[in-house]
Structure formats: C-alpha cells, structure tokens
Symmetry: D2
Subunit: 418 residues, 4 copies
C-alpha cells in the first residue's frame, strides 16, 4: 500500500466508510446478543468480538495516530487486540467466548462513537496517510464480515437446535450440469502480484514480480457436490494412497468421512439457511486443503498454483456470487464457454504454500504483523466466496488458511500438467 499515491475525495471516503461499517451491523440482523457471544472452536470468534475488534482497529490505527487522542475505552483494549504483539498484551484467543462484558449494546454504542469520531476526522480532510489507514481498516472490516458469517455458521451448526441464520432466497438461478473441461493456461514468464499503486492491496500481494508458469491446464468450473460425492462413495476417505501423510493422520484422528457440513446420509448439508438437500451441480464447499488435494489425486489431476490461477483470472471481471447476493451459499455454474466461477462462490485452494513474494516488505510497525508473520504452514486460496463482499476481492488477493481448516467457504478447482 503506497499511501502517497491515494487520491481520495473526502465525501467518497465518508460514504464508503459508513456503508461498509453499516453492512457489518446489517449482517447481524436477526442475531441475538446470545448468538453473537458463541465461540464454537478456538479458530472462530464470537460475532460481538468481531463487531468490537474491527472498531478497536479504527481506534488504534486511525484515531490513535493523533497523539492527543484519549480513548474512553482503554479497559477494553486488552480483549479487543487480536494478535498485534507490538501494541501490547492480549486476551487469549480461545477465551473470547467468555466475554459477556462489554454487552452487545455497549459494543453497538462503541461502534457508534468511534464511527462518529472517524467520520469527523474524515470530514476535516483526508490526506494520503489517513486515506490509507482508513482503507486498511475497511478492508479489515470486510474480512471480518466474512469471518462473522463463517463463524456464525459453525456456531449454529454446533448447537443441537441448529438454527437458521437467514431464510433461503428463492433460487432463480440455472441449475444444469456443465461438463468439466480443461482449458490450456500460458507457459512462460508472467507477472503476478499487485502493482497498481493507486489501488489498495495488502502488503502480501506485493511486489508485482515475474514468475515462471509451466505447461498446464485449468478446469473451466469448480468441482461439484456430485463429483465429490463420487469420491466419497469410491472410498476416498478410506484410501491412504490418496492423501498427504498429515492429511491421512487428520482423517484418522478427526474421523473425517465427508465435507464438514454434510449430513451422515450424504444427501443434505447444513447451510446458513438450515439443512438443505445436497445440490449435485453446486460447488462442493467446506473442504480442507487435505481433502481438495486428495480429491485432485483421485481425479488424476492437481490443484492450480496461485500463479496459474492469477494469470487465468486477470482476463476476467471480478463478478460472481458474492456476499451482496445474500445467498451465503455457492451456486451451480452457468452453461457457457470459458472459465466460470473464478470469483465468488467458494475460495479455491491452490497448490501454493503461503509465502512471501520476492522482494516482499511488510508494512512498518504494528501493521506489519497483519500478514507476514503467518507465512508458515498455510496454503493460499484465491477468488473470494459467497461470503466475501464483491468490492473486497481483486485478482491479486491472497487468502490463506492451514491445511486442515474446513469452516471457510472453500472449494476446489482442478488443474493438470500437460
């Protein structure tokens, strides 16, 4: 993020700030204070914590730039710091579910007060550095919008009553079986990564750099529930030859036999709209890297690298089934030519471990802890999902999760050597 090149009009900045902040609250409509307190596993956080933490982020990194700023909520900071070691000590992550205080009402007030303060700051004029900080805060907010959805899905699934988050919209989409075809990708030196200093990107997407792509193809669409079901029925979860060693250990230890939210009878799955019949043409979702990799091996294919993915995606518009659709679930591909579903629906696991690009420089100070320190033991996912805001995604966006993580909207696109 090269702050010096931002050119932001004050009124645009204000509108954007308010729109994104309000959207976070809109996602909580219908959720009770109790629902927003649940932490169903250490990797997830309570909704209320997301609401408060994203607000703290603005307080810490936007308002806090002013040395004269005095926070009225210093007592809360300890529990709202996620992982910024250089900002100070923090509440243990797996203990976030204990936080009944501050209450949801107090957190809403907190949001309102900080929004007002940031709004005033914006209206006093936005220089490049402030614009960059606010933009980072909004991108951060949008990440937590997605996490709020995936965490509430897990929280609801973990309860015996398995409540519904939102009634399903009427599905007016096509639902046809689109044949899988492997389309050739480019061989040779290509450039990937973020290079447009006028637009926001996280530090981990930079610098733009050259890389070599080997001969390869990519599938024209995502792997479907129907295809994944064939893998399950073929004994995919019982054959160690299909799995990475760590993956097989995980399958054994966790007793995995199907994607996270599928029912035991393999005919329905838990969604944010409750339990629904499995749609054979819709993309398979909530699989780990281990499962994506094993499926690919079973299918005689492999996962794409992130360079292959980015090179194929750069020609496309970042359109698709995003959070704005309010489906919160992936949908079947359209009949048609060319690459489909590159954006939205599900994050696509790649064959690329999450490491730095050549010449990577993290942001200075505490913000440098945002991305770089997680570059171990995780894999890159690309393209966004049905829980991602559309204007949050971009072709160079690098999401990352550990290979056993399944609670994100993550699925599979196949590739092949040629």
């Amino acid at each position: 993020m090269n702050a010096s090149t931002f050119a932001v009009r004050t009124e645009d900045c204000f509108a954007r700030f308010m729109r994104i902040r309000r959207q976070t609250l809109a996602l909580c409509a219908g959720l009770s204070a109790e629902d927003l307190m649940v932490q169903s596993m250490p990797d997830a956080s309570p909704g209320k914590w997301h609401l408060a933490h994203t607000t703290w982020f603005f307080e810490q990194f936007v308002l806090g730039r002013d040395p004269a700023y005095r926070s009225p909520n210093t007592a809360w900071h300890y529990q709202l710091n996620s992982y910024y070691q250089s900002v100070g000590p923090m509440h243990a992550r797996p203990q976030r579910g204990l936080l009944s205080r501050p209450s949801l009402d107090e957190v809403r007030d907190y949001r309102a007060r900080i929004d007002e303060a940031v709004g005033e700051l914006i209206m006093r004029g936005v220089d490049d550095v402030l614009a960059a900080r606010i933009e980072l805060g909004l991108q951060h907010e949008q990440q937590h919008q997605e996490l709020l959805l995936t965490d509430i899905k897990h929280a609801f699934w973990s309860q015996p009553l398995q409540p519904v988050y939102r009634q399903a919209l009427h599905a007016e989409t096509e639902n046809v079986s689109v044949p899988m075809r492997f389309l050739p990708g480019r061989e040779g030196v290509v450039e990937i990564g973020h290079g447009d200093s006028g637009r926001f990107a996280y530090d981990n997407e930079t610098p733009r750099h050259r890389t070599w792509l080997s001969q390869h193809t990519l599938a024209n669409r995502l792997v479907t529930n129907g295809e994944y079901l064939a893998f399950v029925r073929d004994g995919g979860y019982r054959d160690p030859a299909l799995w990475l060693s760590d993956g097989w250990d995980t399958v054994q230890r966790e007793g995995w036999q199907r994607p996270l939210y599928w029912q035991e009878d393999l005919s329905s799955e838990f969604t944010l709209s409750g339990m629904h019949a499995l749609n054979a043409n819709a993309p398979v979702c909530h699989v780990s890297y281990f499962e994506a990799d094993a499926f690919a091996r079973w299918a005689g294919a492999r996962l794409p690298t992130e360079g292959e993915w980015e090179n194929a995606a750069v020609a496309q518009q970042a359109a698709g089934n995003f959070q704005e659709n309010q489906r919160f679930h992936p949908i079947a591909a359209h009949a048609g030519e060319g690459m489909q579903q590159m954006y939205g629906d599900v994050w696509e696991w790649t064959a690329s471990p999450y490491v730095s690009y050549p010449g990577f420089n993290p942001l200075p100070g505490a913000l440098g802890e945002y991305n770089g320190k997680f570059m171990n033991g995780q894999w890159v996912l690309r393209g966004g999902s049905c829980a991602t805001p559309q204007d949050h995604i971009r072709v160079s966006y690098r999401n990352f999760f550990p290979p056993h993580a399944r609670w994100q909207f993550a699925g599979i696109r196949l590739g092949q050597d040629r």
Copy 2:
C-alpha cells in the same frame, strides 16, 4: 429418601415449590442474557443452563411420571440432560457455553410453563411418591442455585473487566480476632447418617449407621485469611514436604501460589462484590483439598473426618451465614465460646474420601445416578456455605468435590489427634 413416610400438605408443597423456583430467578437479577451464557471452564456451566436444566429435571422426573405427558420441548432435552445415562444421550458438558438457543427469554418461558404444569399437578393432590419427587427436584434446584453463584463468580473473574455481581451489603458484623482453640470430640462408637424417614435426605446420606471415632479435637472456628497468609508467606506453596504427591504435581503444573481469587499482591481478593481488601479475620475461601491438607500439615494439625464433624455438629442449630444473608462471602467468627461457623460461610473439607456408607442403596432407576456413581476420587465437604440456602443444609449433608477443585466456597477447619 423413604417416600412412603412423607406427609405433605398440598398448599405447603405448592408454596415451597414456588418459593424455591422463584429464588433461582431472583439470583439472576442484574445478570444479562450474555452473562448467563458464559462457561468459563469445563467444570462450570452457564447460568442459563442451570435455569433450564433444573426445569428439565422437573419435566423428566415429575411430569414425566405420567405416561400420557407429552413434552413440548423434546428438542431441548438432549442439551439439558446433565449426566443421566439411562435417560439417553447428552450434549457434551464442556460445550454448554455454545448454547445460544434456546434464548434466555425462551428459557424463562420454559420455566413458567413447567412451573405451571407442576403447580397444577400439585394442586390435584400430592401423594408420597409425588412429594418425594418434587422434594428431590427442589433440593436439586437449591444445589444449582449454589453452583450458579460459584459459576458466575468464576465467569466474572475470568473476564478482563471483572464485573460486580452484587454490591456488598454494609458489613454490620463483628470483625474481631477470635483465638483458635481445639475442643475435644467424642471417642467411641457413634451413629451418623440420615435416619429420619420423615425428612428428606439424599441417598448418599443413608443409612444411618455406627462408626468408630478415635480420640480427637476440632478447632472452634474456621481458618482465617490471616492464618492462611502466614502459610503462604512461610513458603507453603514451595515446600513439597507439606503436600500430597498429587497436590504437589498440581501446584507445579498449575502454578498455584495462593487461593484462587487472591490477587498476586496478597492484599485483596475477588468477590461477588468485586475486588476487596483481604479481611484477616474472615475465613479463607476457595482453597482446594490439596491446599487445605497442606495447610493443616504446616499447622501441625489435620482435617476432621466427616464422622467427627457430624458428631460435633449434631448438637448445633444449622444457622449461620447462608445464601439468605445475601453477602455471598464468608464473614469473621463471633467472639464467644464453643464451636463456631459449623454451618454456612464455607464448606469444610474433611479427611474423608467420598464413599458409600455401609448398607448404601442408591435410588432405583435414573435417579440412582444422582450420587452413587461419583464415589471415586472425591472428598467430602460439610456444613454449607454463604451460597447455600439455609433450608437446604442438614447435619448429615455430604457435599463432594475432587481434590483440585477451588471454585466452590470451600475452606478449612482443623482437627487433631489427641
């Protein structure tokens, strides 16, 4: 509990039922739905769960006696069963903190509906069996009242903001230093245990039986904070010679250096009224059996057996600093002769492992799981605490907890061989 000898008047039964059920809700005044959802450790339960589980108990064991009874809440039963294997499968105990549904409001409705149904049942006439079941449900309710208080204390202490449950009442009590004296107990064959078939007792208090008491003395009052502080300052937590082997392992593993709720500076402690200065004359509280035993060894004494305690207590009225006082904290002994603080203030760890009395017969069916199946690895505590309802305690009452448990209002009375 010999049901056939109960003689209960319908109106008394109704009034008692309503009084105790309402008291549980009264204890929740001032607690939010969020506060009542916190489960701060696997041994504790959320307040809302206590509210719902005690209600389920009446539905299961009182209303459910009628084969025609149809529960409107069967979907909830799975998560409200605590440990009755013979009733069916159950939600894992450490996962109770995930239950945002049913909501607190729904649980209050549930309580109201079940109370109404039980009330109607009572008004149709109370036979001995029904009286016994209702009485068991109310005793069970009172146990959970105490747990609700100890669990909310731990939940509040576990949060960075450490909220106050109830403002402290003005302390109009004496607060003098009463010398500790060892009063002789009886040597010989005595009878202990519950034998009055006209009054309620748990099965584990029966049968009344003979036991032999050796020569011994008992201290006239509880061990105070001041005395315990001397043990801490003398290096009590650093000398393995003072500890049981399992206790020393626990001290090392958990890093214990003082009672659970004492601050590191040894000058204040967390109470249900927030952080307060340590009162040197008040009984030490929130110590484990391991700590009670180590303190006794340091003091050249030992803990009383439950037979010794019961034999001394039988001469006394079951009066003291109970839940009704609304202090929710132990207070200093009065200047005066004789045994003090035998009832209320803090549960007293005894030197008696929790095992069955000779000739013990558990209740038939699921209710037989109430007490008997826990007779391993726990120690008996006697006398009730500042969180126990006064009419819940009796001289034969046997509470029990594992030797490492510290979150109950548990303290120390010394005894000696003579």
Copy 3:
C-alpha cells in the same frame, strides 16, 4: 516401624540381606540388557532401573547414615531417585526408558559393591536403627521384585513379538470348580492395623486402632475367569449403569472390553509364560478397581472393606501361591471349606480408599515420603499375589493403586451387606 524394639542377630541379618538381594537378580535370569531397558508406559519402569534404584536406596538410607560415607556413584543419584523430594531433584519418571547408561553390567557391579559395603556394615554389628533401615530396604527391594515382574510382563506384551519370560511349570494343581459361598464376617468394634513393635511394618499400617465393622459376608474364594467371562458376555463393558462415572469415562476413552491381557477372542490370555488358554476356574487377574467394582455391582455384591478383609484374614496363615512358586500366575482354588486364596494369587481390590489410619505418623525425614504422600485417589489392595515374596506379606499389609491401574496382579473377592 519402632526401630528401638528390633532384636536382630548379625548373622541372620546378613543372610537375609544377601538372600533377598540375590533373589532380585535371580528374577532377571534370561532377560537381556535390552529387555531390562524397556519402559512400556509411564507407570512402569525398566528392570535395570529397578535393579539400580533399590541399590541406591541402600546407599542413600543405610550407607548414607554415616556422614563420612562418600558415594562413588554420585553422578547416578539423580536418575535413581524415585520420588524423594527431600533428597533432591530427580529424573522424570516417564523418561526412565532413555537410560542406556549406566549399562546393565555397570549396574550389576554397582549392586555388588553396595552389597559388599552393606555386608561389611552388618558384620560390624547391627543396632536397632541399622536393623530397621536394612529391613526397610529389604521390604522395599521385595516390592520392586514384584514391580519388576509386572513391568516386564507389560513390556513383553507391548512388543509385537510378545516373548516368553519363563516357561510354565507343569501344573500339578487341582483345577476344579469350587462354588462361591458367602461366609459371615464379624459385626462390631474390631482392631486392625499393625501393633507388634517387634516385627516390621510400613508406617501406613500403623497405628493399630479400633474400627467398626457393619454386618457383612465375604466370598469364600476369588472371582474366576469363568465368572468374569459371563460378565463380559452379558455386556458388562457396554452398560453405564454398572460403572462408576470415572470408570465409564475410562472404559469409553481407553476402549476397554475385557481384562488387560485377555485376547480379543476371550479364549486366551498373555502370561509370563506366553499366550495360554484361559482357565475358567483360575482367578481373574489384571482388572482395575473400576472393573472390580462394576463386576461386583453386576453380581449383586460389593467389594470388601479393608477392615472386613483384615478381620477375616487374621485367622489364617499367610500361605498361598506366591513368587516362590515360580508360577507367576494365579491358580484355581482348592475344593474345601472356609476362606480360600486370602493370600497370594492376586491382590484383592477393597472398597477402601487409601487414607491414613487415625493417629498416623509418617516416618521422619525423607523416609516419610514412602507412603503418606500418596494418600489421594488410590484404593487399597490386600493379600499379595503370585508375584509377591511370601515373607513380604502380612495381614496388615496395605498395597494401593489408582482405580484405572490394570498391570498389577489384581483380582476380585466379593462381599455383601447382610
């Protein structure tokens, strides 16, 4: 142990010392240096460690009484201290299997040198204190003889090749089915515990004291494999109503379905003579307290208390199937009247938690760590086993193990209230 009353002739002491020390080595005949290094679980120790630790015990507590004594092996002491905190820091117990050094040959040399030094000390004359220390060392040695056998049994069973320790002796014993009968025990005040100051006992057997025995009966013989098999076949391991709560948790967590060394087909068991067909008339062995207790409940009985056991056993001679038999396995009861198998064959789990007797005083100093500090979470066993030296047992002997322990030669005698 009241040392001042020992009257030991020097030559007797010397002979006894040498005989018991040699017996430990005799038990190792046929075991390789490698066999004697295996530690198959944290609760067990390598045979070599037993050989060296028992020798260290004499060095520490017998030779070390002389302030002028200089150990040539101080570098070894750290790893040979078992749990004497007051003697100094120690090697972690679960790490004993790492100790390739000192070698078995070096340990044998160590034994020879210390034996020589102790022998010389004895020949210079044995006062009461020395006699007491040596006797304690020999009793300690005999305990470790039994542990050496149970640990090597577990070590051999844990290896895929499951080697034979000793070929079975020809079984010339009767092998008939003896009916189980319940014989009445005494009701009233009895005395138990060790009171003969002229004979050795551990501190935990003292003082002799009065206790009350309720009405009860004891079975005339041990529970057999055939009887236990009926329990297994009746679904004993699948019915939670039969188990203590901790026991049921253990059954589930460990996947218990039968005694430790039984084969899955329930027709043979691993012994120190290899795999053998299950003898329906021989006592069941290698069951935990949890299993003994569950079996008793299934059988409509209970386990005896240690007072009941001791009162019945005091009339009998301490004769039976002991280590000296060299069978290392329990054998069937003889046809005949009266109580059988009270001594030898298998340790009998009692219904008594392992706690101190009234008036208990541990030995002073480090030796006080021998017994007293383990008085939590364990249950008393009585009567010795086929791995116990006959002259090690006595009527007041209190063995103790945690309720889940199965690798000792432990079995079941039933009792009943009457």
Copy 4:
C-alpha cells in the same frame, strides 16, 4: 529415477552395496545394545531400529520382487515398516523404543543374512530395474546413517550422564574469522532439478524444470556461533517482532532461549564428542527453521530459496566436511574467496516450502510413498551436513523437515534481495 538408463557393472554394484552396508555398522562401533535401543523422542528412532529397518527395506523392495521369495522374518515386518501404508499395518512410531526383541545380535544376523541374499542376487546379474532398486536401498541406507547419528546425539544428550559417542579428532583445521559478504546471484529463468537419467536421484528432485530467480545475493559462508550469540544476547528470543507467529508460539511453549545443544551459560555445546567450548567461528547448528528465519530478520536479511541455492551450488564441487571426516561436527570456514561451505557442515534451511516440482510424478506403488506424501508443512534444506556421506549428496538433493525440528545438523546461510 529412470531405471531403464542405468548401466551398472555387477562387481561395482556388489562392492558399493557391501561398502555402504558395512559403513552403517561401523557407525555403531562403541555403541552398546542398550544405547541402540533408546528412543528419546517420537521423531527419533533407536539405532537398532535403523539397522533393522534399512535391512527390511532391501528385503521388501529388492528380494521381495521375486514372487518366490519367502522371508524367514515375517514376524518382524510389522515393526520394521516405517510408513508404507500400501505394504501393510505398522508398529506405532513413538513405540519403537519398546522393542527389546529382536535383540541387537539377532538384528546383526538379520543384516548378514539379507546382505548375503542380496549379494547373491547381484552376482547373478544386475538388470536396470534391480540396479535401480538396490541404489534406492543404498540411498535410503545413507539417509538412515545420518539419522542414526542425529538420533544417538539426542539420545545421549537426553541422559543425565551425557556420554561421549566418539572422542574428537585433533582439529587441524584453520579457525579464523572470515568476514561475511553477500555475492550476487543470477536473475532470470534458470533450470533446476535432476535431469540426468543416468544418475540416481529421488523422485522429489524431478523433473528438471525452469523457474524464475529474482534479483538476489547469497552470503559467502554460513552463519557462525559468534554471530548467532550476538542475536541471543540482543534479546532475539524475547522479541516477537522477529518471529513468525508459529515460531513465537513455539518459543513460548517450549521455552527456547538458544540452540538445542547449547548450555545455559552460552559458552559450550553438547557434541558427539561430549560437551565442548563454543567455537565462535564455527557454523551455528541445531537451529530450527523458525530460528533461522528469525535470525535472518534480525540480521536484515532473509533465507535463500532453493532455486537460488541450487543455481549457486551447481558451479561447485560437492566437497566439504562430511560424514567421512568423522568429525560429526561443523567446522569454521576457510579464509578465501567465493562461496564456501555450500556442501557439508550443516544442512541449510531455505525459504522454500517443500512442495512438488511442476510435472512431478511419484514412483509407482509403495515406493511412491517415499517423498511425495510429506509435501505439507515442511521446509527444504540443502547441501548436506557433517553427518551426511559425501557420495549421498548432490546439487539437486532436497532434504525437508518441519519448521520446529532442531535435532538435525541444520544451520543458516543468509541471502538478500537486491
């Protein structure tokens, strides 16, 4: 490994087979049967297991190719299979330390018999497929030679007596301080990976393929103890800003404060020759990836990628301080120009996660489990160490370990973007 292109003369094959097999035994000279049984952590294996497992490998994959072959040791196979799921079930890895049987003598006999059988097979004539299998077995044997050394080092360090494996050779090497300089590497498309079908390589080194190298430099020598000491003294282990998030968690959890074998006083280190003073000019050793990465960040540098390393190393001879030197410890760099210590001394952690090369095809059948299934969560190391046989290493060799592993001879070379 393209077997069809091997051209091996029978006598060469025989001599090479015997030489390498004997070298494994030679490394065990001076180690007792007890030493060779120790398993000091789950990641390590007993020396005896290495001796037997490498022999099983020849039995399974060389002799077993003949369908008529009947193993005389089938009972052992279960415990000698390391991780080949397609060969059958296996003994749990962390339990290898329990295997007293077969004895070391039996394992030596086993080695002799299998060597004889393989020798006879060779003498009957070596076709390409046989040559390839034998070569794979020998490369596998050499890997286990190194593991045997690192495992025995850890086993000896873990024992209180910390024995010496081999007395140190007289150090006739230079020991001067060589300044660190950063030498430029090539930017552009390069080829890496194994492409010479006439020479052996593991499947994970293939195929030879193009990759892009960005602008970079590499340090002329390894990081020294002196340099690493400066990092330690500068608080390197106490500053979270220097560490990957997983690395910092590991530092906290494990209490890391210095390299694995350094003494607490930072002035000496445990070696295979016992405890020795730290040589400031010798390469730092036994650091994890986390530590290598943190050191690089502290030094304002980064680790090289494996492409950068291989491109620099290809110009050099694979000469250096290898197993043949019998030092078993890294030594200081020579004064001189150019890249030093690229081969031998210590494995060099790279910035490259261990993943497949584009177009990778694992070996068919069970041998395909050799490398590919471990491609998750590990990092590549390059160049061999003082425990690696010189003829085992090659420029394309890819070693890999998890980021927390410290017991290998692993060290640090720095690189920089330019």
